[in-house]
């Protein structure tokens, strides 16, 4: 085991190692070269890998993704950085209609990764705080990944790059420099499509991902003092969902709360809750609850954003409600 590294550094290492290992891997993004990226995820890459593999692009999200699709079809492994993941909206058509459908329509794999900083709690207001997974959950052919730990961030970015399908990789910027872990030795690749049991417990399962995993763990710690044992399942991959994992957890604890940082309506939390409600119905002792943000854009002011975000207090309150059902 080495020094503990941040979530951001873990992503950087994952990208770096894949660039080292596979000459097909290259990057497209705004300010990723000389500047090393707005969050410095790719600092040093230009020097090491050169301008043909670390390409600073114009401000053209749609063309960045389009070019990645073309290059991916040709056998390369492009990784596109969105400076903030919110700007992915500008590439929506290329992603859901082009990248996601080629395999089905004409058998052509599109091995691309689109990554970038998502999430709130950094006072980024409406366009630098989004969790856009709910926009993409409906697009057949995509994979969506959202790691909560440094080890997963590194292991999953590697898996995403090696995956022969288009993968959206949502990094949570609140976690970038706030969590630190020792990483496992070796390759450390983490398979896409597998949830992680972040904490075992018998009384209620919190199914979540991204920064909310840490909220759930903190709530679990708080409730433990009262003898309440939360199970925390970190989905890690949002598409395809690890249905077996959350159904198993539901069958075990018989009570489930799905926690998301998205505005609740239309969130991935809905899909997860609907599946549990349908497929684990006979095991449920309480309704499958959901906790998310309100159905508004993310507000800027600290008082507003703090009120907006799901947090430990809100979660604990909902858990108590469910346990008394």
């Amino acid at each position: 085991m080495a020094e503990p590294v941040t979530y951001l550094e873990a992503i950087r290492q994952g990208l770096w190692e894949e660039m080292e290992a596979d000459p097909r891997v290259f990057m497209l993004g705004q300010d990723i070269g000389t500047y090393g990226g707005a969050f410095r995820v790719t600092a040093g890459f230009l020097d090491r890998f050169g301008p043909e593999r670390v390409i600073d692009t114009p401000i053209s999200e749609s063309a960045m993704v389009g070019a990645a699709i073309g290059a991916g079809m040709m056998g390369l492994r492009p990784v596109v950085e969105m400076q903030f993941i919110d700007f992915i909206a500008c590439a929506f058509n290329q992603i859901v209609n082009f990248a996601a459908t080629c395999r089905y329509r004409w058998g052509q794999a599109v091995p691309i990764v689109i990554r970038g900083p998502s999430g709130g709690n950094v006072r980024g207001s409406a366009f630098h705080s989004q969790n856009p997974e709910g926009y993409f959950q409906r697009a057949p052919g995509l994979k969506i990944v959202a790691p909560a730990t440094a080890a997963d961030a590194k292991g999953l970015i590697k898996a995403a790059i090696r995956d022969p399908n288009p993968v959206l990789f949502f990094e949570h910027k609140y976690l970038y420099r706030r969590i630190k872990e020792e990483l496992p030795a070796g390759d450390g690749v983490v398979p896409i499509g597998q949830a992680r049991l972040a904490r075992a417990g018998r009384d209620l399962s919190v199914v979540t991902w991204g920064a909310m995993v840490h909220v759930a763990l903190e709530a679990a710690g708080r409730l433990e003092a009262e003898g309440i044992e939360l199970e925390v399942l970190d989905l890690r991959t949002l598409k395809p969902l690890d249905e077996e994992a959350f159904l198993a957890s539901a069958r075990k604890t018989n009570r489930v709360l799905v926690l998301t940082e998205e505005p609740l309506t239309g969130s991935v939390g809905g899909e997860v809750a609907a599946r549990i409600a349908e497929k684990a119905f006979d095991w449920l002792d309480a309704p499958v609850a959901r906790l998310g943000g309100p159905d508004t854009p993310v507000p800027y002011s600290p008082t507003l954003e703090d009120a907006w975000l799901p947090n430990v207090d809100k979660l604990v309150a909902r858990v108590r409600e469910l346990l008394s059902h």
């Binding site: 000459p23 043909e52 593999r53 070019a67 073309g70 040709m74 082009f98 329509r105 004409w106 022969p164």
Partner: protein, 358 residues
Amino acid sequence: MAKTSRGLGPLHPQVAPAAADRLARTSLAREQQLELYRYLQLTRMTEARLGNLYRQGKVVGGLYSSRGQEAVSVGSAYALAPQDVIGPIIRNLGAMLVRGVQPREVMMQYMARADSPTGGKDANTHFGDLSRGLVAPISMLGALIPVMAGVALAGRMLGKDLVAMTWIGDGGTSTGDFHEGLNLAAVLNVPFVLIAENNGYAYSTPTERQMRIKNIAVRAAGYGIPGEVVDGNDVLAVYEVTKRAVDRARAGGGPTLVEAKTFRMKGHAEHDDAGYVPPELFEQWRQRDPIDRFHRHLLAEGLASEELAAVTAEIDKVLDAEVDRALASPFPPPERALEGVYEEGPPAEAEAGGVGAP
């Protein structure tokens, strides 16, 4: 470069019929010209067969024709080398045929048959096959432009010495992806050629309501790349202009925007009678029919009219067989609907083994 108009008057067509119907000078040999002739006729005659199938109720969705525009697709694709990659759109059947697509493939696509290249999953010319240098479009116009720029980029990175080419209609030039894709291609200086096929209309919308300029090619200057206007109904001119663009791209000179002036001689699709097109426009352009003109050119060049008739006779025979083969294919089995969303194995490796390989 063409001059810009600031008025809003009638802007199309711009290309005066060449004097005495003389086609462009060419370096192409007799055999090559004959080959061009064959592709032009193959395109038109394949589409005629598709029209028959449509009227027989065999075509499942809409049917799109390139009638009157065949020289654009054929002439431009003919300028490519075997390693080059094309991304044709709905009116580029001729380009696909030049690149080796068989008529029955397209017939089966339209008829949604099990043995079509997409196995019945997608329609018309919407299929691709990288092993044949063919990328499939999506319906959203413009989207293929950045994708083909990416193909060109990859080609350079992989040392494949290839040129990527795609086409866009006058209407499609209004999309954001046209701008983003062409600008990115220009900035990255990739080997990419974009043929803007200005056929006077986008569905019912005349070009002057699509843009306030007479020549799409003037936009090239906005990307710092060469732009050329060519008579799209002169297959030799299209070939020559495209060839220069392809050679320049291959030599590291970056993208070119070629505007081919032509005319859509039918409605937007088979169901559309194009009642919104003034009949005299059809009449004018009929006189510039690219196949008739090339036929006259070949006769003037000394080819025998029997020689040319033999070409169409041979195509007719081929197409009889192609239609039969296409019709013999069944509809796909229902369970196929569920298959193939994700690639399971690793995707095909880049042949040259990575960026920077020679």
